[in-house]
Symmetry: C2
Subunit: 189 residues, 2 copies
């Protein structure tokens, strides 16, 4: 892998302006200079970032949710996730989202890594955590948030991915990133 690519591929910002400020989405439009000196326009979402949690229950199952995702007009099977509040620590965010959405607290937390879900038109990053040693706490959904909590064994997750019943890329990515840790926990029992 060549390290020389970064400079040769760089796009230089000439001008940057917000062009849409919605309740949820903020769109920016930048004028840029391309590597060959020509000019172009880039439009993209600025996003505060998010976390996703791979939470292993004592039974050996993972905590999943079913949530209606409006842009696609259907419910998705996905891992617990949520946006990072302004100034919020990412681990604090992961603890908060797991508790609010599923009612679980976890004794053990491990940072797994980061993914970028939508590099073509969003600066969103999603920080992945692995949680185990779960206990029931109080669930506290955000206003206007509706979801079902369910448990899927590792073999059920694999089957659901292979069969196309799980298609959410953050869930598939987080699952495979965390799989060595899941297997380590399951083998240690």
């Amino acid at each position: 892998m060549s390290g020389a690519g970064r400079d040769a591929l760089h796009e230089h910002t000439l001008e940057s302006e917000p062009v849409f400020e919605g309740a949820l989405l903020k769109v920016w439009r930048d004028r840029v200079e391309l590597p060959d000196g020509s000019r172009s326009v880039r439009e993209y979402i600025r996003h505060p970032g998010a976390v996703v949690v791979v939470a292993l229950e004592e039974s050996g199952a993972l905590v999943f949710e079913r949530q209606f995702r409006y842009p696609l007009q259907r419910a998705f099977l996905e891992l617990p996730a949520g946006k990072i509040d302004a100034g919020e620590d990412i681990l604090a965010c992961a603890r908060r989202e797991l508790r609010e959405e599923t009612g679980f607290a976890a004794a053990h937390w491990e940072y797994v890594g980061v993914m970028h879900p939508c590099i073509g038109y969003s600066d969103e990053r999603i920080e992945v955590f692995f949680a185990h040693g779960l206990s029931q706490a109080a669930r506290a959904l955000d206003e206007g948030e509706f979801l079902e909590v369910l448990s899927l064994r590792v073999d059920e997750v694999e089957q659901a991915i292979r069969a196309g019943r799980i298609t959410d890329a953050k869930t598939i990515t987080a699952y495979y990133l965390a799989l060595p840790r899941i297997q380590g926990c399951l083998q240690g029992r």
Copy 2:
């Protein structure tokens, strides 16, 4: 997994309007009725869909690209991918993108499945293809498109994912979705 969730979670559209039409991004804002009868607003990108190609070379390596992704201000290691043109067949799109971006044609194509990269605020789907039996054809990048083509062995891909040098979720997801087919091809040699 309960099938009853779909109706219980459904959000009913009251009104739908385009609120931003950029050169690249189209944002819609809908007023919706939530499952409890309360009302809310959903903003989301309408996207034409995309393809991503896991292409296996005769050497046993996978075809990768390094491309500058402006929203994140850096180059990413990723699999060849691109947007579906209006009315374009998804396999035709996969063939076109592989050839235009990397210069490879492939004798064998297999459909792997679909992923959704950004279910919170985009209706984008990404169709995953596995290609093998590669031969060199003519590369023909779109105007204003700059990228480097490189080859990564399967063990190098795994290492790069574990080390955080590959963080693009479509690439990680497509790799794991296609992995049984990659292994089948490599074992058949």
